[in-house]
Symmetry: D2
Subunit: 342 residues, 4 copies
């Protein structure tokens, strides 16, 4: 059994981690912390977990993680970088669902996240936890930077094109749509039901933190320079990301075959038959990324549709996938939930 700690378990990625880990055959949840909810039973806050988890939230100041093999950070950025070194020194592995270790260029990170990075050396060590490109490095890692929700869907969508070198990499466009849970469980006006329901809008068109993360990830797959226009939108649903990706073809290629080959052995990337239109609900509650490839009017613009559940493959599910890889477990263990439809 793997002994597990969770830092910051009161948000949506936290409760999703709990849902998954509570039934993972090799996971034993030892401790979960929350400043605000210390002393509260986990299943009082999340009645969906009644009968599943007997723990209560611990005060982070008093938490003893030395009993843990691995600690998940489901915190806002800025927490994990502060606590990582001490945990690593205890021999505890870390899977950070926040953004602290995702961006290798510290200056870029500091610009987008608005604070000084306190552990730049650990950024260097951290492995970017996208199994579809970094499986081998994840296996031996102590510190995983779990990818962002948009970056997961967008990178998995673009990677075959980038690796094959068949598109203009300087003018990629990612028009992305996210369910509201992507904004987290913090109480703010714009994500109130009466604001976000029956409504659609873009945000952060001038610049979004996930753009440099995507750019870095795609740049690692090619020697060409990468530039990306990234426009995120908020859509009135709870879960789900739909990335609509546009690229200009630079040479002829059998797109469907390219994608099918690239993801042939990937347990969680599903390339749909030609002509498909993936729906976000077809991955609701599951760790799948489903991708469809289009070339409208046989023109030179490729349209890639890539969908995930932002809380699973875009966060907690991918984190557990990384854990499975790190501990030599079957990669799909405990994350084989069938999507909930309808």
């Amino acid at each position: 059994m793997i002994n597990i700690g969770i830092v910051g378990g009161t948000g949506y990625t936290g409760v999703e981690l709990l849902r998954i880990l509570a039934q993972h055959p090799e996971a034993e949840l030892k401790i979960i912390t929350s400043r605000q909810k210390a002393g509260v039973r986990v299943d009082d806050l999340f009645p969906s977990l009644r009968g599943q988890i007997a723990l209560q939230f611990s005060d982070p100041a008093e938490a003893d993680f030395s009993q843990c093999d691995v600690v998940f950070f489901a915190t806002p950025h800025g927490i994990a970088m502060d606590q990582a070194r001490a945990l690593l020194e205890l021999g505890v592995k870390i899977i950070d669902l926040s953004a602290d270790f995702r961006i290798k260029d510290i200056a870029v990170w500091e610009k987008w996240y608005g604070m000084e990075h306190v552990a730049p050396d650990l950024v260097g060590e951290a492995v970017y936890g996208l199994p579809e490109v970094n499986r081998d490095k994840i296996k031996g890692a102590r510190l995983i930077a779990n990818p962002g929700c948009y970056p997961t869907a967008v990178q998995l969508g673009f990677i075959p094109l980038i690796e094959a070198g068949v598109v203009d990499t300087n003018h990629l466009i990612a028009d992305t749509k996210s369910g509201v849970s992507g904004a987290g469980r913090k109480a703010v006006t714009p994500t109130l039901y009466a604001e976000a329901s029956d409504n659609f809008k873009s945000y952060a068109v001038a610049g979004h933190r996930h753009q440099p993360e995507i750019k870095q990830g795609l740049s690692a797959r090619t020697t060409q320079s990468i530039d990306l226009t990234f426009v995120p939108h908020l859509t009135p649903m709870i879960r789900g990301i739909h990335a609509t990706l546009y690229a200009r073809l630079a040479q002829e290629v059998d797109l469907q075959s390219l994608y099918e080959q690239r993801y042939l052995d990937e347990p969680f990337v599903d390339v749909l038959p030609a002509g498909s239109h993936p729906e976000t609900r077809s991955v609701r509650g599951s760790n799948f990324c489903r991708i469809a490839v289009h070339r409208p009017h046989d023109g030179d613009t490729v349209v890639i549709l890539s969908i995930t559940d932002n809380l699973v493959k875009g966060a907690a599910g991918q984190a557990v996938q990384n854990m499975n890889i790190m501990y030599d477990l079957p990669e799909t263990m405990g994350i084989q939930h069938i999507p909930l439809l309808p």
Copy 2:
């Protein structure tokens, strides 16, 4: 392994049965029929099942159920009563998710369902599949009448009061609210998104088919006469039933204790702490019924709140629970999904 057939698998109870049975350790799905979708792959119609189910829908006219141990009917009423006898004669057991065998009084059934009943003798034999009251009979049954969605939530809510004889049984009120999936997957105008979203309404206030089913079920728990005002409402959500039940106390009783005792050993009925307000999402995708008991202002009106997922405990999950009981499997096998929240 139990060999399983499904008749009519293209509706919401059908796809939910598929979701559950695809990962049930003792279930092997052999055949699934659909008149309209014969020849279509199941996962073409429901991409959420890609990689889970390799079958295609069979033409009912050509379906051979002799290979099956048990057949589930996920059909509109009128089908199961027509086909049940032939299956039973083949030695196949039946779990009917439709209404054909729920009402013992044939005249009442015919009045509410608007057709002649063609197998009244089988109605006599059929066991009403509410495990919390009929577990022993279910064990030995060949033919299960799986309860309706509202009747499950309403009966589980009222039963402790009725069995204890502490309320006026002639003036029960059930104000129930259902998600739109309860209306099925048939294309009709009132359940279109643009009709049912951002909207709330009652329906069938003059009389609804589930009222006699509830009345029959509650009458079986007492020697007193039962009468019930049943008002169903359609609420803009996909899944979930919320039954708000009102009864007038006839004598003093410790309500919380009454409910906790009644459901102490029930794996799927969860009596919440006093003062709770159960949310339908706390059972989304799961087989739980959660119940809270209130007595506002210490008056003589009891308010019971009972919630289920209409497609799970209200349909497919309870059907599999019944199958587990019939085949002496652990009652919770394959239906222990943790609710999806958020």
Copy 3:
């Protein structure tokens, strides 16, 4: 023209007042205050009002209401009672959309609103602004206590029965369902989209502030004692209240005719044909209350369905209706919006 001020215009009742008053032929909006948004243009906060309102929010500390004929309070409770006397002394009339002047019994008010009342004498003077019962008093009033959203729908639903003396008034039941805007625009976790969407729950079953308001209102229509079980629910829609009301008949009566007669001359109460099921969307954005009357199975339990838009007839629309009455304008002036459907 009536010169108008609004105190606290950043919530949902505030923006709804603005929507209505911006096109009211006799209203001229002079000033609108907000502590948090002082200096911000109204149409920056609410782009729906671009081109309609040129004002910016004023600091309440610096606001001069002496130019106003009437001031609307769209504030949390506790503000209006504090400021009312000074305004009245300036000769300014007040329409208070908050709860400060609704409850005549000061002790009851203080119990439910958890603070000391600082203007009990004004409570005595205040007229409860439900035009369907108090039209004449409203005409001459300086201070209007605009009814709560639930109390409007529930009282309009029960009044004909209570006035006619045909039901058991000690066991009334109001099972009410509200859209999420009823909870206001304040950022709190339970009304986040990802919490309230695809979910249904009750709240405050042990006791809700609107229960004593309803009780007081109904008591004023009869010499009999009134008792009421009031159970509110939150439903995933933006606007709308659906009150499902239950009462036990004490004598025979032609219910449909009773309701039609009672509301014959009421411009905003619409009694639907017998057998109807009103949908909340049929009043979306309008000042109507639509009511349907049922007596299921010809039993002794009457079921009344009463719907409103909580922000219009349940708040801002009714406030303007009261203003029209106070200023001898046609009662329907400026509030004749046709509901937005779909």
Copy 4:
């Protein structure tokens, strides 16, 4: 007063026409037809119109439009082209909300709409009713082809760039998102609540009927060739279109100023301040198109955000705007509804 007829008033564009025309000061609704609902009162089908419209639906076979000045077609394609000639010969003007007269190239129309066009000469005469480009021609027209919902939002978004000749016109991208009412009121499975809610998907990526309409409209604004990748998506809301438009800059230009100048005198096109993110709810129920202009990272990709209510500016509102122009009424008459927010 203008005497008005409506053909096919049971769909969403029909009921929206009714909502608008019922309060239009110069419109008198004389007749409304429906094959399926002949004899039914309009306000029985749409209770939101109770007290507003006393008509019942007429059988189209018996309808006498000679009393009408103008007839609106709110029908599926194929009807208006069949009936237009007879009406025009009666001296009745036509505003066709369907697609029958939108595409000038008959072969293109026939390809996309799958039927033979029976009135190609009238296509030549028809004026494309986008007031922002065709106001003068609309004034004298007998036959208006009212634009499609997507084409309205997309064209208004692209026009300033195209007219100014500052972008690569051969690689335009329109990533569009529509509320579900855009799919009409016809009962089909994909637009059921339980299918479309909490879900996001694209459709018709291989090709959509509105692509040639947009291409034709933009081509008319330039001498350059136009090509467009058009990807529509279905988003879980009732009303609203959000078009996210991408174009590659070919020369430097002050984008904000370009847009503000172009739409300076347009009553229904609202160019938002630089940096804005328009929300669809900010036009809900209104005839506005709001546009924001972005140039992320000062790169060469322009991002235009253009929103409308698909049933108003995208259909019924624009139709009445055209009527106002045709009859020399103030262009904004009867379509000045303030958006309903929240």
